[in-house]
């Protein structure tokens, strides 16, 4: 199962999920680290993002995949992850 998703969609999704109203998608680089410095996000933000990903894209954000942390490393990593494991949420 897979779906097409763009970096812009993921950036908008991150901004909306975490309430970062002063950030624009353009201000987030595709390969910027999301959690180490950069946007100033922490492990609770990572969990929030995991919950929202599961809801919006049907991604089982944790499961048995030991690489979960790498999937959250950057926008590009998330795009690859959602494209591979996601599905559009039923309307």
């Amino acid at each position: 199962m897979g779906m097409m998703i763009t970096p812009l969609e993921i950036k908008t999704f991150i901004i909306e999920t975490l309430g970062l109203e002063d950030l624009t998608p353009e201000a987030i680089g595709d390969d910027d680290p999301l959690f180490a410095g950069g946007l100033g996000l922490d492990s609770i933000d990572a969990l929030e993002l995991g919950i929202a990903l599961r809801r919006r894209y049907q991604v089982q954000a944790a499961g048995d995949d030991p690489g979960t942390r790498e999937h959250f490393a950057s926008v590009n990593a998330l795009v690859a992850y959602v494209s591979q494991h996601g599905a559009d949420a039923p309307a």
Binding site: L23, D42, L47, A61, A62
Partner: protein, 447 residues
């Protein structure tokens, strides 16, 4: 069996007994004593009474703590490892331990003395240090084992919470060490490491921030193993979340109420039964309620005189109590203690800021909002005119500058997510800035 803390290095556990698990490898008590002995020798050699324990890893932290206490030092534990925090605390200390010394002579095993100071956010705007004697910490650990312990030696202890706060320090490090249960050095707050940790059927030391979210990400029925017990502290766990864990984990979640100043005060295990949301005081604690509603605590661990908490409480005839909310402006955000006056003072130290007011915004997820009045000549486009392209850029640059300023000493959760730049802070009829009016600035989307 429990080893009193002063005798931690005196050989209760055999050299081959596991002290910690780090990245899948066992760290033994032999290694623990050697590492602590090296720290002790280093501290003796360097001299100086007050030492900053700035170790980000729980193993280095634990051996560093034992070693510095073996050398009889006063150990200052920082609330976080941000550069400004460490610089400030380092200036008040005679020595600083950043990591375990890799080699060098080791002091022989012997009794621990000295004391610990937890540096934390104060309620008045100034950070403060909260001293804990070794006797108080030891009483804490003995009480935990007597009230909630009894897990076999060798049961691993996993935690999602930081080891440098008193809850994590006691539950994730000191209690496991004293009871011969290996602690997982790495925190397991993210889903992948949580699953790895659960396969060990550990005692889980967690918080509402993690328990409520992990529940929504993970399939609890498919956990590779069940925790033997779950502890939660730092804030109240939602009843629905507590019941969801109880449904899957028969032991349920034991919530602990306490503070750095008081130590543990009370506990509860929320279940189907009515009344299970009330807090039961620990056996060595007395509680009363002051005239203004504040809970007042008496115990050896809380200090020589009754300690007034910043939480309002109501006592029930059966001796239990319920908590009614904070009385001061130190709030808990994702279980991190955040002093709003301290944030405001830090903002006002920024060259472009004259006044600042920080409020907690409640919503799906509680967030901080900062209303900031800028110095003359630094006006930001919220005074009526429309927001042009350049203006949006300037605003973003300003917010970024303020965020970076705060991030030097506040953890990410304490850095406000919402910003407003009014010409003046909103006042009521008597000229007093009220928090309700400030919070009103954040209603709707920003202008």
């Amino acid at each position: 069996m429990i080893q009193p803390l002063p005798g931690l290095l005196s050989g209760a556990w055999a050299a081959a007994h596991p002290a910690a698990l780090e990245g899948g490898a066992v760290r033994t008590w032999g290694e623990f004593r050697l590492a602590a002995g090296r720290v002790a020798a280093q501290a003796r050699e360097a001299g100086g009474e007050r030492w900053l324990l700035a170790c980000e890893g729980a193993w280095d932290f634990a051996t560093g703590l034992a070693g510095l206490l073996r050398a009889g030092r006063t150990v200052v534990v920082p609330p976080n490892f941000l550069p400004e925090t460490l610089a400030r605390l380092g200036m008040e200390a005679h020595g600083s331990l950043r990591g375990a010394p890799a080699a060098g002579p080791a002091l022989e095993d012997g009794p621990l003395t000295g004391s610990v100071v937890f540096a934390t956010s104060g309620s008045t705007g100034e950070p403060k240090g909260i001293p804990r004697t070794l006797a108080q910490l030891d009483a804490e650990v003995a009480l935990l084992e007597a009230s909630f312990g009894g897990f076999p030696p060798g049961t691993p202890v996993a935690g999602t919470v930081p080891h440098q706060h008193i809850y994590g320090c006691l539950f994730r490090v000191l209690w496991p060490l004293a009871s011969g249960r290996p602690f997982l050095a790495a925190p397991c707050g993210d889903p992948a490491s949580f699953l790895t940790a659960m396969a060990l059927a550990p005692v889980l030391v967690s918080s509402p921030a993690h328990l409520s979210r992990l529940l929504r990400i993970l399939d609890l029925e498919a956990l590779p193993g069940h925790p033997l017990a779950i502890f939660s502290s730092g804030g109240a766990l939602d009843r629905a979340d507590a019941l969801a864990w109880l449904e899957r984990i028969p032991a349920g979640v034991v919530e602990i109420y306490g503070s750095t100043e008081s130590g543990g005060i009370a506990w509860r295990r929320q279940g189907e039964a009515s009344g299970s949301e009330a807090w039961t005081v620990l056996p060595d604690v007395g509680v009363t309620v002051a005239e203004d509603g504040a809970l007042v605590v008496t115990s050896f661990r809380a200090g020589p005189s009754p300690l007034r908490m910043a939480d309002a409480a109501a006592l029930a005839p059966d001796g239990t109590f319920s908590l009614l909310g904070r009385l001061d402006r130190t709030i808990k955000l994702e279980e991190k203690r955040v002093s709003l006056p301290e944030l405001e003072a830090a903002l006002e130290a920024h060259p472009r800021v004259t006044r600042a007011s920080v409020v907690l915004l409640v919503g799906a997820r509680p967030l901080l909002g900062a209303a900031v009045v800028l110095a003359e000549g630094c006006g930001e486009g919220e005074e009526g005119e429309g927001e042009g392209e350049g203006e949006g850029e300037r605003r973003r640059a300003l917010v970024e500058s303020l965020r970076r300023h705060l991030a030097q000493r506040f953890e990410p959760v304490a850095v406000p997510r919402r910003w407003r730049f009014p010409a003046a802070l909103p006042c009521d009829g008597s000229g007093k800035v009220t928090l309700g009016l400030v919070a009103g600035l954040f209603q709707g989307t920003r202008p």
